[in-house]
């Protein structure tokens, strides 16, 4: 068969046979769950060829719980800048000597502290991690350096149209007082007080609700080591975690901001409020979103980049928020073609409302999404990160299998009716920043 083809150059016109990835059966490797002596849950995925692992502590210490702007993010950042017995340099030096990476992240509901290390060095690193959760002292001079440097960095970011547009679109959808919509100013940095950080730290880290995720090539005594170092800490004392916020939508649907007179590009954000992943439409809209702007072959990318050349990239996505979220289209386009870009974006939404998606395009999107999912449920770091997202969003493996089922079975009619429901131009907010 192969030889016959070689003698006939037209064999190149014919695509090789493929298996339909949409027909594949995907499995999500289950985690192992352990509990430390103090009741902390540990979720673990073991495997891999390299002798590396990652441990992530997730605290319910995001900006959802702060009383004053950026207290959560600042506490998270500074918790490794000094403990009772070690200064910032000594702490960094310890982790870096072992070639480990200690990273922090502060989000809306949660804040994290993550360790990536060669598996062999775990026993040397965990005791100092434990110190960070119980003995951080937030030195005044560290806070002052932090303020000064962050104010300077903010000044630079504010010159970038994409940064400004990202802030404003979230403000439009959630309101400036909502954890998802608020943002930082110089005034906020200057107003930070050391005492506020210490209080937040005690309540949301030392005694805070926390869970642990581990993945990689785990030494056989990993859980034992975790229990020894963290099993006696006073976590989970703070149970009162319910706090509600109301969204306040912008009164003006369209805003144009001139940030830089000499700007040669404009950042465009077009977004609408959207429910969280417990809503029955969520996983179906993920398919519609892919068609609209979720991958390189999407409608927006094909039209606005690959046909017209207005932009280097245009994407649509649903933000990964727990409570409620927004569906957003995002691009940076040439200043002279900015209006045309917006017009074409709405045209593509309209087309999804007016015409059913062809079977051919739907087949393509199903296969693409399943292929991409297949690559993503592989490797311990990928698997634990999917599980973490599920656990924090309070869904289980059924969510995974139902999503797959949706990708395999959703039809053109359902997609069109979702488009009519969610892609109405009047429901969208629009920010343009030059």
């Amino acid at each position: 068969m192969a030889n016959k083809k070689i003698n006939n150059p037209s064999f190149r016109k014919q695509a090789p046979d493929i298996i339909d990835t949409a027909e594949l059966t995907l499995q999500l490797q289950p985690y192992n769950k352990y509990q430390l002596d103090n009741g902390i849950d540990v979720y673990a995925i073991d495997g891999g060829a390299q002798d590396v692992l990652m441990i992530e502590f997730v605290f319910f210490a995001g900006n959802w719980y702060e009383e004053k702007n950026i207290v959560a993010a600042t506490t998270n950042f500074l918790l490794k800048n000094g403990t009772k017995n070690k200064n910032a340099f000594a702490i960094n030096e310890h982790f870096e000597f072992y070639g480990a990476y200690l990273n922090q992240g502060s989000f809306n509901e949660t804040s994290t502290v993550t360790l990536h290390t060669l598996s062999k060095n775990l026993p040397e690193l965990l005791p100092v991690m434990a110190e960070l959760f119980t003995e951080s002292i937030f030195p005044e001079e560290e806070l002052e350096i932090y303020k000064k440097n962050n104010i300077q960095q903010l000044e630079i970011k504010l010159r970038k149209c994409d940064f400004v547009a990202n802030r404003l679109i979230d403000e439009c959808i959630y309101g400036i007082h909502h954890p998802y919509g608020k943002y930082t100013s110089t005034v906020d940095f200057n107003a930070l007080q050391r005492d506020e950080l210490v209080l937040f730290y005690n309540e949301f880290y030392t005694q805070g609700k926390c869970m642990i995720f581990v993945a990689g090539k785990l030494p056989s005594n990993t859980i034992e080591l975790l229990n020894k170092n963290f099993g006696h800490l006073p976590f989970n004392k703070n149970k009162a975690l319910t706090k509600e916020y109301n969204c306040v939508r912008a009164s003006q649907k369209k805003q144009f901001i001139l940030n830089d007179e000499n700007g040669v590009q404009s950042a465009i954000r077009i977004a609408r409020p959207f429910p969280n992943r417990h809503h029955p439409d969520f996983s179906k809209v993920m398919v519609l979103n892919n068609i609209l702007g979720g991958y390189f072959g999407s409608r927006l990318m094909s039209n606005i980049r690959e046909d017209k050349g207005y932009t280097y990239g245009i994407y649509s996505f649903i933000q990964n928020h727990i409570h409620e979220t927004e569906w957003i289209i995002s691009t940076e386009a040439g200043r002279d073609v900015c209006e045309a870009t917006i017009e074409e974006t709405y045209k593509e939404m309209q087309r999804l409302c007016n015409e059913p998606v062809s079977e051919e395009e739907l087949h393509l999107v199903r296969n693409y999404m399943m292929g991409s999912l297949l690559g993503n449920v592989n490797g311990t770091f990928n698997i634990i990160s999917r599980w973490k997202s599920y656990i924090l969003n309070n869904v289980d493996e059924n969510y995974f299998y139902n999503s797959i089922n949706t990708i395999k079975t959703i039809n053109a009619e359902e997609i069109q009716s979702l488009a009519k429901k969610y892609l109405q131009p009047d429901d969208f907010y629009e920010i343009t920043v030059v």
Partner: protein, 412 residues
């Protein structure tokens, strides 16, 4: 230990297979031995523009992305001053689709006028997004031009100016393709859930009949040893003053390269590094400071750059950096400090090797460098560096006459 099998086709295409059956996916990585350094000074940005055109359809297949996505695959590419690299990841059962697509575009592009027109615009938007519409976006345009007198590293992969990309013609495109995109100027690495013999058969089937091109003899002007310190002062509409300094270092694979790499770690690797601790935390002269190099194949630049705290003068900032360099030149670093940088390097390599796509990319690069086994042995080159080497090399490179400096002032 990363294992691989090698084979070369009659037309010169080199093939490496790295089997890893723990993943259901396969990676096909093709590295072409051409980068921005191979461009003519009047037509810069071309290697990168070309990378975009490689997705505009080939002689027998109108569209590259669609069939790959239909097979459950994804792809991307990047261009550096040295090389151009293309990779796709797809479920391993569908790997032949990648061979079909990649071999057809190596055979010949479609050379569509529309694709050239559109991608010229797309690249111009990329140029604006990353280098014009960003504060300090032009720093590396200016620094490359300052630091290199003759070597083509004096321009960025995006190109010297928008007009070079805007004026690219179809003739330029065709000439470039048939000069560089030939099987004997490429390395293909296939990794993941695959079998070496099967891959070699597929390679013969799809790539075997592509004619070889004329061998490309790279003959680039050598950068002469710098004789005098260079300084450029810039005033721009940015919020803060910035200081950028570079020094010439040796080529990839030289002992000096490994030593320079560890020096960047000592000075700028992590929050316990010397520059961060001394200049950001203790003296509080910079709001951030970095030390790095680009890992170029030919002699590159070691860079220190930072943003000044408001009120600090350029002179104070520069003196403080100089003091740190004097320290490094006059005193040996402690063995534990050297050990820390080696440990960090070991860890970095281990984490890089977690992803099969990254292993495929490294295999291609080491093969291109001339010794694929470096993927398993290169770490020992770092381990061989001593505290004496660090001191000697610091004395050699951190010399005023080997430096280029930009004082980037805020005109606010």
């Amino acid at each position: 230990m990363i294992l691989y099998n090698r084979h070369t086709l009659h037309n010169g295409l080199k093939i490496l297979v790295h089997e890893d059956n723990s993943t259901p996916m396969a990676v096909v990585n093709i590295m072409y031995n051409v980068g921005a350094r191979d461009e003519s000074p009047e037509k810069t940005g071309f290697a990168h523009l070309f990378e975009h055109l490689m997705f505009g359809g080939s002689i027998n297949i109108p569209d590259y992305d669609e069939p790959l996505q239909r097979a459950g695959g994804e792809n991307n590419a990047y261009t550096t001053n040295d090389i151009t690299n293309y990779y796709c990841v797809l479920p391993s059962q569908n790997i032949e689709t990648a061979f079909w697509l990649e071999s057809d575009r190596m055979l010949s592009l479609a050379f569509s006028k529309k694709s050239l027109e559109v991608q010229r615009k797309v690249v111009c938007e990329e140029f604006k997004e990353h280098y014009i519409n960003k504060p300090y976006g032009d720093v590396w345009h200016k620094m490359r031009k300052l630091a290199y007198d003759v070597h083509p590293y004096q321009w960025m992969t995006i190109g010297k100016e928008l007009s070079h990309v805007e004026n690219a013609t179809m003739k330029d495109v065709k000439d470039f393709f048939f000069k560089f995109y030939r099987p004997n100027n490429a390395i293909m690495v296939v990794a993941g859930n695959v079998n070496s013999n099967h891959i070699f058969q597929l390679a013969e089937k799809w790539f075997g009949s592509i004619p070889a091109g004329e061998k490309y003899e790279r003959n680039l002007p050598k950068e002469p040893k710098q004789k005098n310190a260079k300084l450029l002062e810039v005033k721009a509409d940015v919020p803060l003053d910035a200081l950028i300094k570079t020094w010439h270092i040796e080529e990839r694979l030289s002992k000096g390269y490994y030593t320079a790499d560890l020096i960047t770690e000592i000075l700028g690797g992590g929050a316990s590094s010397r520059l961060y601790q001394s200049l950001v935390k203790e003296k509080q002269l910079f709001s951030n400071i970095n030390c790095y190099h680009f890992g170029t194949i030919e002699p590159g630049l070691l860079t220190i750059e930072g943003k000044l705290i408001k009120g600090v003068t350029m002179q104070e900032a520069e003196n403080a950096i100089e003091e740190e360099l004097v320290q490094l030149k006059s005193n040996k670093v402690a063995e534990t400090e050297l050990q820390k940088t080696i440990n960090r390097t070991e860890s970095m390599i281990a984490f890089e090797d977690v992803s099969v796509a990254s292993r495929a990319n490294s295999l291609a690069l080491y093969e291109l460098l001339g010794d694929v086994e470096l993927i398993n042995t290169e770490f020992s080159k770092f381990q061989e560096v001593t505290v004496n080497d660090i001191q000697n090399y610091a004395q050699k490179i951190f010399e005023t006459n080997n430096s280029s400096t930009i004082h980037y002032y805020s005109n606010n």
